[in-house]
Amino acid sequence: MNSAIISIENIYKSYQDHKVLDNLNWQIERGDIVALLGKNGAGKSTLLESIMNLRDIDSGELKLWEKSWKNLPQSQRGKIAYVAQDTVGFEWMRVHVFLSYLGGFFPSWDEQYCNDLSHKWGLDSNKKVGDLSGGQTQILHVIQALSVKPELLILDEPVAHLDPNMRRQFISELVDLACESSITVVFSSHIISDLERVANKVALLKNGQIEISHEVEELKASIAHLKIAAGGPLEQSEYYAELANWQSHSQGATATVVKPMSESLESFINNAPNKIEHTKISLEDWYLEVCNEGR
């Protein structure tokens, strides 16, 4: 049985002449915590909003629980929570009114959990939403989303305005929630250290497509800088075709492994026609490499 909770096939989305999503395919399995990466303007928010049915796609098929949004029953829709990147609106409401008001629209709303989280994260429930700082507003929306006890949680840059302490607390809460229920989370972020702590999968959106989608651990084990020795400048041969950022120099070439290859890194190095030295790189360095690739 297909356990994909989100299934995207060949979707396209353009704004005027600018193609944002270009024949994008992606599958997210039940229980996955997926970090969606991509440069500013890569289309992360558009993709997440399309998953949430907040933006109409030009073509393609997008299914949640193997159903299109049109056929998704209200009961199932109530199991989805979402935090937008720009959390606007409701400025005139007090925090507790905001939470109880929106909570009323979710059958699985956990009032006690909501109060506990508000207390734990130091949110003044009598303050007006409009009087909260950027970070506090984000916390408020995250609390609202978590208190739904959703089966699918979509978060668009949920920690962008949070201080490191709050980020840690948020991540810890997310991990707890994922452990106690089979919640599926998709979140976009630019803070790579956070995704390492919480996500089990990472996906990179580039050129309108999910270019890389792998398990975090698998990816971390694969990515490396390679120094390939040769008598003179070395051109990228077929053997090295999977390597990125190829640069020839007088004594060979340098390149980067940016995604798991068809064989393990060790066997790739051992079977190579040239002598290769490798250096492991962090996810942050990897992210910079893949983003700058092809510039």
């Binding site: 933006r55 005139w92 008001y101 009323g104």
Partner: protein
């Protein structure tokens, strides 16, 4: 039902300042309706003016709850959660129905027709709410214009009853359209503060249009009228731009009513409309300016000496100019409408009253800049009541003494009182901590 009740409460309190403005205008209009019922002639000609007043209130309520609806539609639930949509629509309709019921007794003195007392204002509320709810400029202009267009059919012999029936059916169509038109807000690269701008919230115009309008009007004002460089004055003078927007909109609204009230013998009510809108526009402009005052945060530290005295004075001078230009644009607009549609107008009364309203508003507004409008407080209510009460009393007094106004000692006493009041309110404004002036909501 609990969710609907909660939503009604939230819709009514979504903008305290607007809520108070609507209440204020309702009270002022009620005063005029009361006058009409008492002093309207026995031939029944006070019916149409009374109906016009009711419909004006319906338009304002439509814009108000349209704003509330738009704010609640910002949440993603509007697009994906049917229950949320049901609750919002139910609350929206209940407020509209309740307001029509509140308006009914005032019109009952003139007519007992349910269609005119209740159905017509209800339809107008729904249509006018689309000035704000409308997704694009065409929706915002064309949908609210439908009732106006339908009423023009009376000129071609179509019965009023038929028009009301058509309008009622169209209203239900519009409600159905609202329910099924579940969109999600378009992302805007412009800051949230600007999206909250009153010009956008109250007029429902597209932000880009408002900004473009602001820019070009601001350009003209600073280049040829204000003749200042793009410095502090430019920042504070920006309200000038919205003032023109408000004036034009109010003039267009009044023109709509004049068109509807096209029978030759009818009183077009230009005088009370002018006073109503000019008083209300000051409140709107103060709210708008408070948003724009925040712009001075970037450079206010340069004027931090002597408790920002220089900057505070600049702000007041800019606001004074804004009020005066706004009033001139508005009054000229009214006279042009009267001239274009050959409507009788008591120019002397309008000029005297508008001058009095401007004088009082100029004397009074610094205190309104010092207040926090986000919460309903006793001070805020008291201040608004004093403002409304003084305008009503002054308008009434001028109405009785129009002929000998200039020779009356009370006129000069009023002017002196306004000057003294300005001295007091300006002192309060100067003494208010500067950061609080900029942070006030």
């Amino acid at each position: 039902m609990k969710a609907v009740k909660q939503t009604i409460g939230l819709m009514l309190t979504h903008s305290v300042a607007m809520f108070i403005s609507v209440l204020l205008i309702t009270v002022i209009f009620a005063f005029f309706q009361y006058n009409l019922s008492l002093y309207g002639n026995s031939s029944g000609s006070s019916f149409l003016p009374a109906l016009m007043i009711n419909l004006t209130l319906a338009v304002l309520m439509g814009v108000f709850i349209g704003g509330a609806m738009k704010s609640l539609q910002l949440n993603y639930l509007w697009k994906i959660n049917q229950h949320y949509r049901n609750v919002l629509i139910a609350a929206f309709l209940l407020i509209a129905v309740s307001y029509c019921l509140i308006l009914m007794p005032a019109l009952y003195l003139n007519t007992q027709q349910l269609s005119l007392m209740f159905l017509l204002p209800f339809c107008i509320i729904i249509f006018s709410s689309h000035m704000v709810i409308g997704q694009n400029l065409w929706h915002k202009i064309l949908i609210p214009a439908v009732p106006l267009g339908l009423f023009q059919l009376t000129k071609y012999g179509v019965e009023l009853t038929t028009i009301i029936i058509v309008l009622f059916i169209a209203t239900f169509g519009l409600i159905y359209f609202m329910y099924n038109n579940y969109f999600y807000r378009e992302r805007s690269p412009i800051s949230h503060e600007k999206e909250n701008s009153l010009a956008v919230a109250t007029t429902g115009l597209n932000l880009k249009w408002v900004m473009a309008f602001n820019y070009y009007i601001g350009l003209v004002l600073t280049k040829w009228i204000a003749r200042s460089k793009r410095n502090i004055d430019w920042t504070i003078i920006m309200p000038h731009t919205k003032l023109a927007l408000f004036s034009f909109l109010y003039v267009i609204l009044i023109m709509g009513f004049v068109l509807m009230n096209s029978e030759k013998g009818d009183k077009p009510l230009l005088e009370p409309f002018t006073i109503m809108f000019i008083s209300a526009s000051f409140i709107s402009l103060i709210m708008e300016s408070r948003q724009l005052l925040r712009q001075t945060r970037v450079f206010s530290h340069i004027f931090s000496g002597n408790k920002h005295r220089q900057l505070r004075n600049k702000i007041l001078i800019s606001m004074d100019k804004m009020f005066i230009v706004n009033s001139i644009v508005f009054v000229v607009g009214i006279f042009l409408v009267a001239y274009a549609f050959s409507k009788p107008i008591n120019a002397q009364y309008i000029l005297y009253t508008v001058t009095a309203v401007i004088l009082f508003a100029l004397a009074y507004y610094p205190i309104l800049l010092c207040m926090n409008w986000i919460n309903i407080s006793f001070t805020l209510l008291a201040s608004i009541t004093v403002y409304a009460g003084t305008i009503i009393a002054t308008a009434r007094w001028i109405n009785i003494h129009t002929v000998d106004l200039l020779s009356s000692p009370y006129t000069w006493m009023f002017i002196v009182a306004c000057l003294l009041l300005r001295g007091i309110t300006q002192t309060i404004f100067w003494k208010r901590p500067f950061e609080l002036l900029l942070k006030n909501k």
